[in-house]
């Protein structure tokens, strides 16, 4: 079986939180068990089609599937008897003719239409299948977002909006139970839990944020660093001769950086006069999620991506949480109809902050003529301004959120190694990034392609 097909199937299923295992087993095309789809790679078949078939079965009990199935069956109502009759031989011995006529296989019929497994030609079947899986993927992603849908009993509590959001997200009914009792006593107990939780989050130490040296993201970063060094014509012997050492150094460096970033956010929050419930929810959010704007995907530009953060694996930087973004989030929590979910609210806050960064941070580089096309913005790194480089990292990350540059996730790591320059046009849009490694240029990137700079702006 082609490795690229395997990889495509694995990545496709990952979007739904489903694992994939390739097996060799006589006469079975595939099956599903628990949270895993098993595909038999020793049988000659269309593996992606079989996978899609298994995947659709996974979601056959969702309301979205019921709606799609109903639509498909209604659209083919005039042919339904003939379609069902086709299944009599195919399912002989499993279901009687009467059962099939009564619709016992209608779920199979609907799935077959969506994977081109039906003997009836139906042009739109695959597209309907794609739309259905898109809906499922979206509803799975929605569950990753900070839950802002207050239930009726929480809405009725005598708490602020953010205290209610705390109640919705913090208590899980297992280790964390909603305080019992009524009225003021219950409210008091909830507020004590908020303060206690916030204090726990303030006191997290670096041991809880140690990245495993064998994390897939560390290994990918190691390979990126080697590639970048080779592109600059630099020697990679030190890194390549001992990959284990390379992984450990990268893991250690990023662990320290992420902890420094987190502590910076904590120190900032301690000084802000904002509700403890909002502070605790935002700290929790940055510890458990990675927020990203997907500018790399041609069909999904501007799509917000929220992934679960694993503290021992994820190397992406923390959320941009400062006075500006927190204030915006606090003030606009009542406008959820406009934003639809927390991720959109968060990125709207970052956009506002980004505009202030570009306006306030422009510099003139001596001897550099920009021909009126735009300006350069410099972000001092740790070597230049150790006291403020983490704050600068937040500004830099905000400024480049709409670019495909990894800086939006790794700004503090990059500023730890050197200064950073961004060229923005008259509308404050970034076009060129220059990352310094000490006093040398580490990397220069443009906006339209990962490796080349656009010749004219």
């Amino acid at each position: 079986m082609d490795e690229s097909i395997k990889q495509r199937i694995i990545e496709f299923n990952n979007q739904f939180g489903i694992k994939t295992v390739f097996v060799t087993q006589k006469d079975v095309m595939g099956y599903a068990l628990g949270n895993t789809i098993y595909i038999n790679e020793s049988v000659e078949q269309d593996y992606e089609k079989t996978n899609r078939h298994e995947l659709l079965h996974f979601f056959e009990e969702t309301p979205e599937f019921e709606a799609t199935k109903k639509r498909l069956l209604e659209e083919h109502a005039d042919k339904l008897d003939d379609i069902r009759s086709e299944y009599e031989l195919r399912y002989f011995g499993l279901y009687s003719e009467e059962e099939i006529k009564a619709g016992v296989l209608d779920t199979e019929i609907a799935i077959d239409m969506m994977v081109d497994n039906s003997s009836f030609e139906y042009e739109d079947g695959l597209k309907i299948g794609d739309d259905f899986l898109g809906q499922i993927q979206h509803s799975i992603e929605e569950k990753r977002y900070l839950n802002l849908s207050l239930t009726a009993n929480i809405r009725g509590m005598n708490l602020s909006d953010w205290e209610k959001i705390f109640v919705l997200n913090y208590y899980d009914g297992k280790e964390r139970r909603l305080p019992q009792g009524k009225g003021a006593d219950r409210v008091q107990a909830i507020r004590e839990d908020i303060e206690k939780y916030l204090q726990e989050l303030y006191e997290l130490d670096e041991t809880s944020m140690q990245i495993d040296s064998h994390s897939p993201e560390v290994i990918r970063e190691y390979e990126s660093e080697i590639k970048a060094l080779k592109a600059r014509g630099e020697d990679t012997f030190y890194l390549e001769s001992d990959p284990e050492r390379g992984y450990e150094e990268i893991a250690r460096r990023i662990s320290e950086q992420l902890y420094a970033e987190y502590k910076h956010i904590v120190d900032l929050m301690k000084g802000l006069d904002i509700e403890p419930s909002l502070k605790s929810m935002m700290l929790r959010e940055t510890l458990t999620k990675v927020y990203k704007l997907d500018r790399d995907n041609e069909t999904n530009k501007g799509k917000t991506i929220v992934k679960n953060r694993k503290l021992n694996e994820s190397i992406a930087g923390h959320m941009i949480l400062n006075e500006s973004t927190l204030q915006f989030i606090y003030e606009h929590i009542g406008n959820l109809d406009e934003f639809k979910n927390f991720a959109n609210l968060y990125f709207a806050a970052v956009e506002i902050y980004k505009n202030t960064v570009a306006e306030k941070s422009q510099i003139t580089l001596e001897g550099v003529d920009t021909y009126g096309k735009g300006t350069w913005i410099k972000f001092d790194g740790k070597g230049t301004d150790e006291e403020n480089y983490l704050e600068n990292a937040k500004k830099l990350s905000a400024l480049v959120q709409d670019t495909p540059w990894c800086t939006k996730q790794l700004a503090s790591s990059q500023l730890a190694n050197g200064d950073f320059y961004v060229f923005v046009d008259a509308e404050q849009k970034p076009h060129i990034a220059v990352r310094m490694e000490g006093k040398s240029i580490g990397e220069v990137r443009g906006i339209y392609n990962r490796t080349r700079i656009r010749r004219r702006i």
Partner: protein, 49 residues
């Protein structure tokens, strides 16, 4: 539940414990079709088994 091939090469989802019986029936269906039997004749043959 597992996915196997039907007599006409389509994907079919069946209980794993029924696999052997299912495949035997599908082999018979294929054989009868090669013999030129109609669908109704095949169903009767399989029922009478």
């Amino acid at each position: 539940m597992i996915t196997v091939k039907s007599y006409d090469g389509r994907m079919v989802t069946i209980p794993e414990e029924k696999k052997d019986e299912y495949e035997q029936n599908q082999r018979l269906i294929k054989m009868y079709l090669k013999q030129g039997k109609t669908k109704e004749e095949i169903k009767e043959l399989l029922k009478n088994g």
